[in-house]
């Protein structure tokens, strides 16, 4: 699983909302091609973008049951999860390679964003004889 993190501050002031139109187009086009390449290579399992964090809520169980809902995500976090890919590939090295390509998605002025991509193994089944 590749998790794409984006700086939390200033989505509108400093983030993607301030990019020139051409840079936005280049970014969207990159993501489209990237997903298509993963699909063609048979490595694509799933990819989803997430709604922006101001729509997010954190839910905890209240004492005695029922949801207790607060605005989220956690205020102290500097970055938020913008989206993720689940890929099925041969090796850890290959997963790192793919993550590096996602990280280098073009940003403002076509400069690679170098977004942090968190790579996590999806847990498998237990061995036959546990």
């Amino acid at each position: 699983m590749l998790m794409m993190h984006t700086p939390r501050v200033g989505w509108k002031d400093a983030g993607i909302g301030t990019w020139p139109q051409e840079d936005l187009k280049a970014h969207i086009s990159f993501m489209h091609r990237f997903n298509k390449e993963l699909t063609d290579a048979g490595e694509f399992v799933d990819a989803q973008g997430l709604a922006l964090p101001h729509e997010a809520r954190v839910v905890r169980a209240k004492k005695g049951g029922g949801p207790e809902v607060t605005d989220g995500p956690f205020a102290e976090a500097k970055e938020f999860l913008a989206g993720f890919w689940i890929i099925d590939c041969e090796s850890t090295e290959r997963a790192y390679e793919i993550a590096a390509r996602a990280s280098a998605a073009p940003g403002k002025g076509g400069v690679p964003l170098n977004m942090p991509i968190e790579v996590r193994q999806v847990m498998g089944r237990p061995p036959e004889d546990l």
Partner: protein, 436 residues
């Protein structure tokens, strides 16, 4: 395994509801019949490519499904017999309810010779099934799933795939829907005349939802899942062919079919090479499907000439006005404005008011449109919905207030749950910001 060719596949899907109707008629148990028919369809998909399509495909499917039902009933009978033995061992005064009669095996001997006699009952079966699957007792997602499976003949896996949920989730949804039909005791028959109008509108609503789900996929990275749209058009066409023209409700069925055809005609112009959304005014109109447009226009012209009017017909008429304009600037906006005015009087739907505001802005200038939007600010159904921000941004841009337009484009981008929409709205804001 050789795949089924397109003709045979088409035939299977067309026969699916007829076969199911015949089996339910004999055995009455909707849920079990539906399972049996699914098994028969699978058997056909495996055997027909090898052995060829049988001379009487409908009879073949009914025969196979009935054999499955027989097996099912025998197993059920054996189970009940075991339970009856247990019941017999309980003293009679402790029995709270008498054991139900076991299902009769008398059905099993009945012949299916009536298959394909052409008396029209097989067509009616398709309609009865639709009325059953779109029953008001079901929630929309259940009705959609059941309609696609029982009437559309899609497998659970195909439906799950179309709605991007795991197969087990969809199987559960379908099973709940069948359970619901069983407990609500909906009989397998045509709705009475008194029920008919309401039930037909439920059917059309479900078909419309299937179409929209395919056309503007509300979730996920892809804007269009065309298989669902195609399936919705196929089913609506079937209903259109089954209802006598000029009969009650026929106008709205024709209207819905026309609306789907006229909207779907723009499909290939609606997205760019990177999957990005292209609005109506910027679409390459040479990519529009002329045949679909001609068919849609003919349908809506014919039904309106019969003096019939309804919400689907009005929406189809609006789509026709758009489709008939060779260039965006040739669009007959005064006519669209008048049609939205009629539609607004028929249905209290904030989405209609949104579109009405756009038409008003095109005809009478942006302040007229913005004025209409103000009425929606207090509407709770739209509270926080990105479409209100998106339309307001568009009208503010027309009015030359670019700063306010940028703010509303960005607000809309932050609220939509569709990535292509978000990309589109963010790009609009960026385009305006560059002009400032």
């Amino acid at each position: 395994m050789t795949p089924l060719d397109a003709d045979a596949e088409h035939l299977l899907r067309e026969l699916a509801p007829q076969v199911l109707g015949a089996v339910i008629r004999r055995f009455r148990d909707f849920a079990a019949s539906e399972d049996a028919v699914q098994e028969a369809l699978l058997a056909a998909a495996v055997q027909w490519p090898e052995e060829g399509v049988p001379d009487n495909p409908r009879g073949w499917l009914i025969h196979v499904a009935a054999r499955r039902m027989t097996d099912h009933l025998r197993a059920e009978l054996a189970r009940r017999r075991r339970e009856t033995v247990v019941v017999m061992q309980v003293p009679a005064d402790q029995q709270v309810a008498p054991a139900a009669d076991p299902p009769s095996l008398a059905y099993l001997g009945s012949s299916f010779g009536a298959a394909g006699t052409g008396d029209g009952s097989e067509q009616d079966d398709t309609l009865i099934l639709l009325f059953m699957c779109c029953h008001p007792a079901l929630t929309s997602p259940s009705a959609i799933a059941l309609t696609l499976r029982a009437v559309g003949g899609l497998t659970t896996a195909e439906i799950a795939n179309a709605f991007l949920v795991p197969e087990a989730t969809m199987a559960q949804r379908i099973s709940r829907a069948k359970q619901r039909i069983r407990t609500s005791g909906v009989p397998f028959r045509m709705p009475t005349d008194a029920e008919r109008a309401e039930r037909l509108s439920a059917v059309l609503h479900v078909l419309y939802l299937i179409f929209s789900e395919g056309y503007t996929s509300s979730i996920g990275p892809n804007l269009q899942r065309s298989d669902l749209s195609t399936e919705a058009i196929r089913l609506t066409r079937a209903v259109h062919n089954l209802l006598p023209p000029g009969g009650e409700g026929a106008g709205e069925v024709a209207g819905l079919l026309a609306l789907m055809l006229l909207t779907d005609a723009r499909r290939s112009a609606r997205t760019g090479p990177d999957g990005e959304l292209i609005p109506l005014t910027e679409q390459d109109r040479t990519l529009w499907d002329r045949n679909a447009i001609s068919e849609g226009v003919a349908l809506i012209t014919d039904t309106l000439s019969r003096g019939s009017i309804g919400a689907y017909q009005l929406q189809a008429a609006i789509a026709a006005v758009h489709d008939e304009a060779g260039r965006a600037e040739d669009t007959d906006w005064p006519q669209i404005l008048a049609l939205y005015g009629l539609l607004k009087r028929m249905s209290d739907n904030p989405m209609v008011t949104l579109n009405h505001a756009i038409a008003a802005a095109m005809v009478n200038g942006p302040p007229a449109g913005l004025e209409l939007l103000r009425a929606l600010d207090a509407d709770e159904r739209l509270a926080g919905h990105y479409r209100l921000d998106a339309v307001r941004a568009h009208l503010l841009e027309m009015a030359g207030d670019h700063q306010a337009a940028i703010a509303h484009y960005q607000a809309a981008a932050g609220r939509t749950t569709s990535i292509p929409e978000r990309n589109y709205l963010t790009t609009q804001a960026a385009r305006l910001a560059e002009r400032e």
